[in-house]
């Protein structure tokens, strides 16, 4: 009887579990294992245990890359919050049918290939591109700005890629906000700014944290964005990992970097779950 009862659960969860084991667990374990191995002179892996791949990361060159990755991911998150929050608030103030259409508009660019979007952003920023031409014509600048392949453009690229992810969780928690709490706050004499920070922000915290998680973590590990927007000149953790695997053929070192990224992600999620229940996470 007992076995019969569990059968439907096993039937539904079984294939997913097998999928997860083959395509998520196994590669992770593989990456974890080779991160402690040695690279052989031909770009292969030698089964020789070492911590060197981890100590290697402490070199100033790599620390700088890690620091810059954090910095850009942090800026991306902050800007996404600053842009995404008012946007989500505005959408949530519309009636549901309008809000659905507006959310659709937020999502449509996300459905186009992100590479196409990134390249077109590059086109706009070229010395003879739209942005420079416009600024020159308006006499705001006298010489074309050299925007291409810079940290700024990488940041732009990260923003383009991550913004939709920030609007959705924010929208879903703002939309659930009990409007009578805002009225109660006003009624008790709170000015709009006070109401915002004392009531609206705490009440939409799950959305804010959801936004941070959905933006910061991907922004930290993104590899094609720095490649396309940085023209190979801007090196972030993601690009570093990709290069170790595909260019330099130092798989063990790439693996150790990947493990570092995974650990950072887990740490962020752990901090979050310490303060909140995971089921409160607003990820739409």
């Amino acid at each position: 009887m007992r076995r019969m009862k569990n059968a439907p659960a096993a039937a539904t969860a079984g294939p997913v579990s097998i999928w997860m084991i083959i395509f998520v667990m196994a590669p992770m374990i593989y990456v974890f294992v080779i991160s402690f191995m040695t690279r052989d002179p031909y770009g292969g892996i030698e089964a020789k245990f070492t911590f060197e791949n981890y100590t290697e990361m402490l070199q100033p060159l790599y620390l700088k890359v890690i620091l810059k990755s954090f910095k850009l991911a942090f800026y991306t998150t902050v800007i996404c919050l600053l842009v995404g929050y008012p946007m989500a608030y505005w959408i949530a103030s519309k009636k549901p049918s309008t809000a659905a259409k507006m959310l659709m508009l937020v999502m449509i660019p996300y459905w186009t290939s992100s590479l196409v979007r990134l390249y077109s952003a590059n086109l706009l920023a070229m010395p003879n591109g739209f942005l420079n031409t416009a600024l020159l014509k308006l006499h705001i600048i006298s010489e074309p700005l050299n925007l291409l392949y810079s940290d700024t453009m990488v940041l732009m690229g990260l923003l383009i890629t991550c913004l939709p992810f920030s609007v959705l969780p924010l929208y879903s928690s703002i939309e659930k906000l009990d409007k009578s709490l805002i009225e109660a706050s006003k009624d008790l004499g709170a000015r709009p700014v006070q109401t915002f920070f004392k009531v609206i922000v705490p009440q939409t915290m799950p959305g804010i944290v959801g936004c941070i998680i959905l933006v910061f973590i991907p922004a930290l590990g993104m590899y094609y964005v720095p490649d396309v927007m940085g023209g190979g000149k801007v090196m972030l953790i993601g690009t570093l990992v990709k290069n170790q695997f595909l260019v330099t053929k130092n798989w063990p070192f790439g693996a150790s970097m990947a493990i570092l990224l995974i650990l950072i992600t887990l740490a962020i999620l752990w901090i979050y779950t310490r303060f909140n229940k995971l089921e409160d996470l607003e990820v739409v």
Partner: protein
């Protein structure tokens, strides 16, 4: 009499095409308990929200303490609200909820502590400071909401069906408690409800509303004894209403010809030919087996029900309309199916002016 504390003059409110408040005038006296009573959709909550500052009046003047407030934001007005859904801040403790009004005004911490303690004592919630609203019962949440609104020492407290979510027992207890609080603090309460018994229990004056208009504003006693309109008569308590035309006036007594027969009432300002609603409360409606001089309204005893506090006899006048008689004691003199003639004393009937189209209703 001193200046009214809230003065609403010629206020209209439209929601789109919807005219929800129609040229409303209302003066609320300082220290009184005024109830806006009416069925849902009558505009009572809208009035409250306009005084609080959550809705703008489309036209008209709203004054609080002699000062016009139409252009003031809700946070600039010296009125506080107790919300129907409590609207307690779920992320704050009871202490922080109650303290909120003072915290946003940057009152010194020691003073806040003192005031919150006073408030907790006032609503009898000592020891609950650290609780979160979601760990409290409906009645307790209600008390927190009241304490939170009162800590600002408002001149006027607005209450939007605050007891709607509580069960009957608790509601009755809170009604008495609210009245006690109001008398103790001597604050003006403006209370919104659709429960006429609740309004009767607590109010100094009741404004009975229908379709954005105040139909009758008076003390509970007056409204019950002398309802001004047919709606008020039927909405407040139980009423027997017989409608018809005045056919004759003699010695200050008017005879009204209704479709169930003739009835009489004091003529007052009625003229022959006027439409009149004869309104008689079930407890004073009298009956007999023989017609009484001047009356010919009759019907068949349809049903005798024991409703707890009274025995109710339903008299079928026609297919649709039943007259009601309420008596404390059971009358064994008649049985179901008997024909009874209805009559009443002149002091027990209220004549209400009506329109032609109301006669059949």
């Amino acid at each position: 009499m001193s200046e009214p504390i809230v003065k609403i003059q010629h206020v209209d409110k439209y929601f789109g095409e919807n005219h929800v408040i129609k040229d409303l005038n209302l003066e609320i006296e300082e220290g009184e308990f005024l109830t806006l009573l009416g069925p849902s959709g009558c505009g009572k909550t809208t009035i409250l929200r306009m005084v609080a500052g959550f809705e703008d009046a489309t036209n008209g003047i709203i004054e609080v303490q002699g000062e016009r407030v139409e252009d003031k934001e809700a946070y600039e007005r010296d009125v506080n609200t107790v919300f129907q859904s409590y609207a307690l801040f779920p992320h704050m403790t009871v202490y922080d909820n109650i303290a909120y009004g003072l915290v946003v005004k940057k009152v010194p911490k020691d003073e806040i502590k003192e005031r919150v303690k006073e408030m907790l004592e006032l609503v009898q919630l000592m020891g609950f400071e650290g609780r979160r609203p979601d760990a409290m019962s409906g009645g307790q949440k209600q008390r927190v909401a009241i304490a939170r609104a009162l800590i600002n020492n408002p001149k006027v407290l607005l209450l939007d069906e605050p007891l709607g979510a509580l069960d009957l027992q608790l509601r009755k207890q809170m009604q008495i408690e609210l009245k006690r609080l109001q008398q103790k603090l001597n604050i003006t309460f403006v209370y919104v409800t659709h429960d006429q018994e609740e309004a009767m229990t607590m109010s100094d004056r009741i404004a009975v509303m229908k379709d954005g208009i105040i139909e009758h504003l008076a003390t509970p006693r007056e409204i019950y004894a002398k309802p001004r309109t047919k709606f008020v008569a039927s909405f407040i308590g139980e009423s027997n209403i017989f409608s018809g035309h005045v056919t004759e006036i003699e010695d200050g007594i008017a005879t009204v010809e209704t479709k169930f027969g003739k009835g009489r009432m004091p003529a007052e300002d009625f003229k022959v030919g006027d439409v009149a609603h004869l309104c008689i409360r079930p407890e004073v409606l009298q009956y007999s087996k023989e017609p009484v001089d001047g009356f010919s309204i009759s019907g068949q005893v349809k049903n005798m029900i024991f409703v707890g506090s009274v025995h109710r006899t339903l008299i079928g006048m026609d297919e649709e309309y039943d007259a009601r008689i309420n008596r404390v004691k059971y009358d064994t003199a008649y049985n179901e199916g008997d024909t009874l003639y209805l009559h009443w004393e002149m002091e027990d009937v209220t004549g209400i002016h009506g329109q032609e189209d109301e006669i059949d209703a």
